[in-house]
């Protein structure tokens, strides 16, 4: 069992279907062919048996009566013989039994091809008695006067009969030694008939009607049956091969019909889930189980897409300020920059930071700090507007990427960020010399002529803008530094 499970494990569904169906079909075809072979052969053999038995039916009473009273003459007379010789294909016949009155063995054999009939139960004493009778009759005849025609006639009849009897007995003794009979009685298990396909012989056994029991055993030439058997076998092999060929073609077609859509679905599943179009999932039009599987798969892809959108939205949005998250920046910044530069626009990368925000939290508490963060974020979002996108990178740090036709516009946008925050006049007593919340920002403006690797470009810009921001802090905060790339 282990080897078979190992074998199955190494087979594809395609191969498994092919092998299993082929085996199944082969078993079915072989089973049906064997069954038909047995059935047709049996019918033909039984037909032959019926014909053979029918040939003996008119003789059974004669045979039974003869064995009952040991009437060898009836069994061996020319009329009986010629009737037996006329039975078609009969090769050998044996009549045997026990006589009904003195329980003596009776056994007579016929060899139609040799035109011979003989007893196998002749005893030497029987022959010597008949010979003695003949001698006695011959002696009586020699003593009879020549003109005693009546007596001579009687003696001649009896002498003739004795000679015929003696000849028959001698013939039987001689033929009993004949070894040309090479058939053995059929096994006792075969009570009606036995088809010996090795010796091409059909054995028939019939019970005789005498009281002590008797039996007819006949052997027929069965070469015709053998010819039928060979023809039947050839026909069945041809039919089986045709059936196998048709089945094979059907199996290949069905296997392809089942497996190719599975392969097609598997190929679809191997794609990036985001790129799969649920409306174009293959095999969804089928009405069978594979169609059901394809439709379920399509629905699942749709559901995954929806859930991914939700997740993306969640991960793209900063939960406190509703600005874009660092994750969103990583996802969109490159595409934004590439698109703007390729369309001949300038791009600015700004890093902004609320001045002394830690002190604000310490002074006003974290809840108020969060409120300020939200207010500043709203201001930044309003200032950036449609020219770009604003992101909260963490704490009080914001990143803006924006585009414009001229560097001047971007410079103004950066300065406006600083000024808009100052204009709100949010109290911040812990922001020395200002007393209100202020914003510092470092910015790098990239011209459209730059054709560097965008990812690296943005990394450089962020790094340089961060350094500018540091410089703003060093210069006393509430300050903006913008430089070209």
């Amino acid at each position: 069992m282990r080897w078979s499970s190992k074998l199955w494990r190494h087979l594809t569904i395609n191969q498994m279907l092919m092998v299993s169906h082929l085996v199944l079909i082969a078993v079915v075809i072989l089973g049906l062919s064997y069954s038909r072979y047995q059935s047709e052969l049996k019918v033909r053999v039984e037909q032959q048996v019926s014909l053979a038995k029918g040939a003996f039916t008119p003789l059974l009473t004669l045979f039974s009566s003869a064995i009952s009273g040991r009437n060898y003459a009836n069994l061996m007379m020319p009329m009986t013989r010629s009737t037996i010789w006329e039975i078609e294909d009969l090769q050998f016949l044996q009549l045997s039994g026990i006589s009904d009155y003195h329980e003596k063995v009776v056994n007579v054999r016929y060899a139609p091809p040799l035109r011979q009939v003989w007893r196998t139960d002749v005893e030497a004493q029987e022959l010597s008695e008949r010979e003695a009778t003949l001698d006695n009759l011959l002696n009586l005849k020699s003593q009879t006067e020549a003109n005693n025609h009546v007596r001579l006639n009687k003696l001649d009849y009896l002498i003739n009969k004795a000679i015929a009897d003696i000849n028959a007995l001698r013939n039987s003794i001689q033929l009993s030694k004949y070894n040309g009979i090479h058939w053995n009685p059929p096994p006792s298990a075969y009570q009606g008939y036995f088809f010996d396909d090795e010796k091409l012989a059909l054995h028939i056994k019939l019970a005789l009607a005498n009281h002590n029991g008797g039996e007819l055993w006949a052997v027929f030439d069965a070469s015709e049956l053998d010819t039928f058997k060979r023809t039947l076998l050839t026909d069945l092999v041809k039919e089986a091969l045709i059936a196998l060929f048709i089945s094979l073609a059907l199996i290949v077609a069905v296997t392809a019909w089942i497996v190719s859509p599975i392969k097609s679905l598997a190929s679809s599943m191997r794609q990036d889930i985001q790129r799969i179009d649920p409306t174009k999932v293959p095999e969804t039009q089928r009405s069978d189980e594979i169609g059901e599987l394809a439709r379920s798969y399509s629905a699942m892809v749709t559901q995954i897409h929806q859930q991914m959108n939700v997740l993306q939205k969640l991960s793209d949005t900063d939960p406190l300020t509703a600005l874009g998250s660092r994750h969103k920046y990583n996802r969109v910044a490159e595409a934004f920059t590439a698109q703007a530069l390729s369309s001949g626009q300038h791009v600015v990368v700004i890093i902004a930071d609320i001045d002394n925000f830690k002190s604000y939290n310490d002074c006003y508490g974290h809840t108020q700090g969060d409120n300020v963060l939200c207010q500043i974020a709203t201001i930044i979002d309003q200032v950036v507007g449609r020219s770009g996108e604003a992101f909260r990178f963490g704490g009080e740090e914001f990143v803006v990427i924006a585009k414009a036709q001229t560097p001047k516009q971007l410079e103004q946008l950066t300065t406006e960020l600083n000024q808009a925050v100052s204009r709100t006049r949010i109290e911040h007593t812990a922001n020395p010399s200002k007393g209100i919340v202020t914003l510092s920002a470092g910015a790098v403006i990239v011209p459209p002529s730059i054709s560097n690797n965008i990812k690296q470009l943005l990394e450089v810009c962020l790094d340089r803008a961060d350094k500018q921001l540091y410089q703003c802090k060093h210069n006393g905060r509430d300050h903006v530094i913008v430089e070209p790339y």
């Binding site: 009273g69 006639n153 001649d156 009849y157 000679i163 000849n167």
Partner: protein, 170 residues
């Protein structure tokens, strides 16, 4: 040489018998009416219903003689010469000469059994002593011999041991 002699004699006998076919072999015993009756039996009628276990020999006998008396059957009387009554009781062996007659009383058929050299021969006559063996196949001597000498299990020394009436004995 002996076999050749036998063969030639058999051929001669065959030629002879061909000329005299159906003639009775046994002679007609004129004094048979004076012989003692040793057995009374019947020729069974054609419409007789035999018991299922009736022997095949009796069935063959009934079939052979059912024509007698237009199929109505007939009483049958067996008579034996006085000198052979004792031999008849033991079914032989028989000395030469007439052995028995069976008389079908209604039809008047007299079947004669005679022994020559210890062998039985048969003949069929009417009450006038005329040979009637040619009038019906079952009256031919060879037909008689076919049963009386060839059923070796039943018929010993030319007479048979199974009486027809035994069928209805019980």
């Amino acid at each position: 040489m002996k076999r050749m002699t036998h063969w030639a004699m058999a051929m001669f006998a065959l030629l002879l018998s061909a000329q005299t076919v159906a003639d009775s072999l046994a002679s007609y015993p004129k004094d048979w009416p004076n012989w003692p009756v040793v057995k009374e039996s019947v020729n069974l009628p054609a419409d007789v219903v035999l018991p299922p276990d009736t022997s095949l020999f009796i069935q063959e006998s009934v079939k052979s003689y059912s024509w007698i008396n237009n199929g109505q059957g007939s009483p049958l009387t067996i008579r034996v010469p006085p000198n052979k009554v004792e031999q008849y009781k033991t079914h032989g062996p028989y000395t030469d000469g007439f052995t028995a007659v069976a008389v079908s009383e209604v039809e008047g058929i007299i079947w004669v059994t005679e022994h020559v050299g210890g062998e039985a021969i048969y003949g069929s006559y009417n009450r006038k002593g005329e040979d009637i063996s040619a009038t019906h196949p079952s009256l031919e001597p060879e037909f008689c011999a076919g049963c009386h000498t060839r059923y070796k299990d039943i018929c010993v020394n030319g007479t048979c041991t199974e009486p027809v009436l035994k069928v209805y004995g019980d």
